[in-house]
């Protein structure tokens, strides 16, 4: 039997019904979605949230089994469609006991083994999920009515619960995928609707599943300095995903970390800064735009209670938001690694050195892709780095000064500050940038600029033994000269080492000297075709 059913899981607040409607509409006449919780209502004659979820677990398991049988019967009737979806929550949350549990009967589910092609678990920004769940008749609606500071505290508690819930949902979905022996795909609903449509209607082994890696945190921290970069990444993402056989996973399709606003005194407050822009227009995303909430951060303070809070309460809110932020941060790394793993064709890194330092996230993702390649053995997992030469040269300047700080003997704070100022001047100087472009020029450039560097250092400076070999003898002056010569040689040699190069085993690094972004994108198209075998639509 052809495997053409996609199991779609997701926690409440994802708006999975709306999501699947949009996906099904994007493949006219070719797909059909069945909702297991609807079938549970049909077979039991009881409303799902108010009656079924509130009953004892044994009863829920029985209703789940009956609902499952009804859902399978409907799926069989829809076999004329090339793609079908079966949607359900992998984890339930008991409204009274607040217990998380998995209602699934594995023996029944295993009967779908010859029919299911993959398990997709839909995820979304927790702030959007929470906004939906604060609406009337939803589980957190009561919190939206609290106008006191306790309402703010309860809100943070709810968001922590949503985070935990998402991890449970992903874990249970992973278990289902293992049970059925099919891939698991974690997919943010802010991806383009065709991402899921392609996985549903094509054979997975004919698609190129790619992960887009790019700097995020450093850009967010200095968003005023680099306002155009998110749009540039989005443009690149649109270009990659327009290829007919590509499914592109974009990390910024979930954007939660580092978004809380701050008071003038630097305390975290219940408001949100702008999220990373999306590569798809609102009418193209899997999830419909958030309509119920008046603004993106409404959920954090629905009754505007924070404005009237003073010192102690503000500190309390700050501490709770810091806790929430930490928990969000923990999930960022694990989620991005999961996305790299499910991108079985590999990683495309876009300008990983932008603006002047290699992105920590991009390096770790490329490293993980490489580790997966080693683990998988015979694999088609590859890697393409698309950058520009100026980013690369700036990264070399940053690395040069970083190594100086690393290797110089006990630099004072003042010396460190002088070196940082000098580094900033070099980064802004086109001539010096040129001197870091070609490997053979670097030593000469440093030699020429030595007086500038030495002016920033204390008299009689020397390199630590970690950077130089111990001198054999001679006068103090000669030893000092040899130390400095060898120290700079070490710094220059290490500056030339590219931290990404060893991670690109199958694929390539492309960093042209181009002023025009249009040319860069055009060239990238050709490389994507040759490295990954992506194809234009017929």
């Amino acid at each position: 039997m052809t495997k053409k059913t996609v199991l779609v899981c997701g926690q409440p607040g994802i708006a999975v019904r709306h999501c699947l409607r949009r996906v099904v509409e994007s493949i006219p006449g070719a797909a059909h979605a069945v909702f297991l919780e609807d079938k549970m209502q049909e077979v039991s004659g009881r409303e799902f949230r108010s009656a079924i979820l509130d009953s004892c677990l044994r009863e829920q398991y029985a209703i789940w089994g009956q609902g499952f049988e009804a859902a399978v019967t409907e799926l069989r009737k829809q076999e004329k469609h090339p793609a079908t979806f079966l949607s359900f929550h992998a984890v339930y949350h008991h409204p009274r006991t607040r217990d998380f549990y998995c209602p699934i009967d594995p023996r029944r589910l295993q009967r779908l083994e010859d029919r299911v092609k993959c398990v997709v678990v839909l995820v979304d920004d927790i702030f959007d999920i929470y906004s939906r769940l604060l609406q009337p008749n939803e589980i957190y609606h009561e919190t939206s009515q609290q106008a006191s500071v306790e309402g703010l505290f309860a809100g943070v508690g709810n968001l922590l619960e949503i985070l935990q819930w998402r991890q449970h949902e992903i874990a249970a979905s992973r278990w289902i995928s293992m049970l059925l022996g099919v891939p698991l795909v974690v997919l943010a609903t802010k991806h383009n609707v065709r991402t899921l449509a392609r996985m549903a209607t094509r054979r997975l082994d004919q698609l190129r599943l790619l992960y887009l890696s790019h700097p995020i945190t450093s850009i967010r921290k200095q968003s005023a300095r680099y306002p155009d970069f998110p749009g540039e990444v989005d443009e690149f993402a649109r270009r990659v995903s327009r290829f007919d056989n590509v499914v592109l996973f974009e990390p910024a399709a979930i954007d939660e970390f580092g978004r809380f606003g701050r008071t003038e005194r630097g305390l975290l407050k219940p408001s949100l800064t702008m999220r990373w822009s999306l590569s798809s227009a609102q009418h193209e995303t899997i999830a419909p735009p958030l309509q119920a909430a008046p603004r993106a951060d409404w959920c954090l303070d629905p009754q505007s209670a924070y404005a009237s809070q003073k010192g102690a309460a503000q500190h309390e809110v700050h501490r709770l938001l810091r806790l929430l932020e930490d928990q969000i941060g923990v999930q960022v790394g694990s989620r991005d690694f999961t996305l790299v793993e499910q991108a079985t064709s590999g990683v495309v890194a876009y300008r990983p050195y932008y603006p002047d330092i290699l992105s920590s996230g991009a390096w770790q993702e490329l490293d993980h892709n490489n580790a997966m390649r080693r683990l998988e053995g015979a694999t088609r997992r590859k890697c393409l780095v698309v950058s520009v030469d100026d980013d690369y040269c700036r990264n070399r300047i940053t690395k040069f000064f970083s190594r100086l700080q690393m290797y110089l003997d006990i630099p004072s704070e003042k010396t460190e500050q002088r070196l940082q100022e000098l580094c900033a001047r070099w980064l802004a100087d086109g001539d010096i940038l040129g001197g870091f472009r070609v490997d053979q020029d670097l030593h000469r450039t440093v030699e020429r600029r030595l007086p500038e560097i030495e002016a920033a250092l204390p008299n009689g400076y020397k390199f630590r033994k970690v950077a130089v070999t111990t001198p054999l003898g001679g006068t103090a002056q000669a030893i000092g000269r040899a130390n400095r010569q060898e120290g700079f040689a070490t710094v220059c040699r290490e500056t030339l080492e590219d931290d990404i190069k060893s991670l690109v085993v199958q694929g390539g690094v492309y960093r042209p000297r181009l002023d025009s972004r249009a040319s860069l994108l055009g060239e990238a198209d050709a490389l994507l075709k040759s490295v990954f075998g992506v194809k234009e639509a017929a």
Binding site: S218, I357, L358, S359, S360, F401, S402, M406, E494, S502
Partner: protein, 67 residues
């Protein structure tokens, strides 16, 4: 050249310098990586295991020397 399995990620802070000294003195073969954006503390990666911060790196080195 065969790739060393241990990587030490550093940016240039005092904690990074201390971590480099500890690993270098231990004789463990490693590759130095960095600087990386937003990497606040030294990070030692041995295969799939990560050790973040000087204290954790010292514990790792001690365990290697004992084991």
């Amino acid at each position: 050249m065969a790739e060393a399995t241990v990587r030490l990620v550093v940016n240039g802070s005092q904690e990074d310098r201390d971590a480099l000294d500890v690993v270098k003195e231990s004789g463990i073969r490693f590759t130095l990586v960095g600087p990386l954006g937003n990497q606040r503390t030294p990070l030692l990666i041995d295969g799939q295991k990560m050790h973040a911060g000087l204290r954790s790196i010292v514990e790792y080195v001690e365990a290697q020397q004992q084991g």
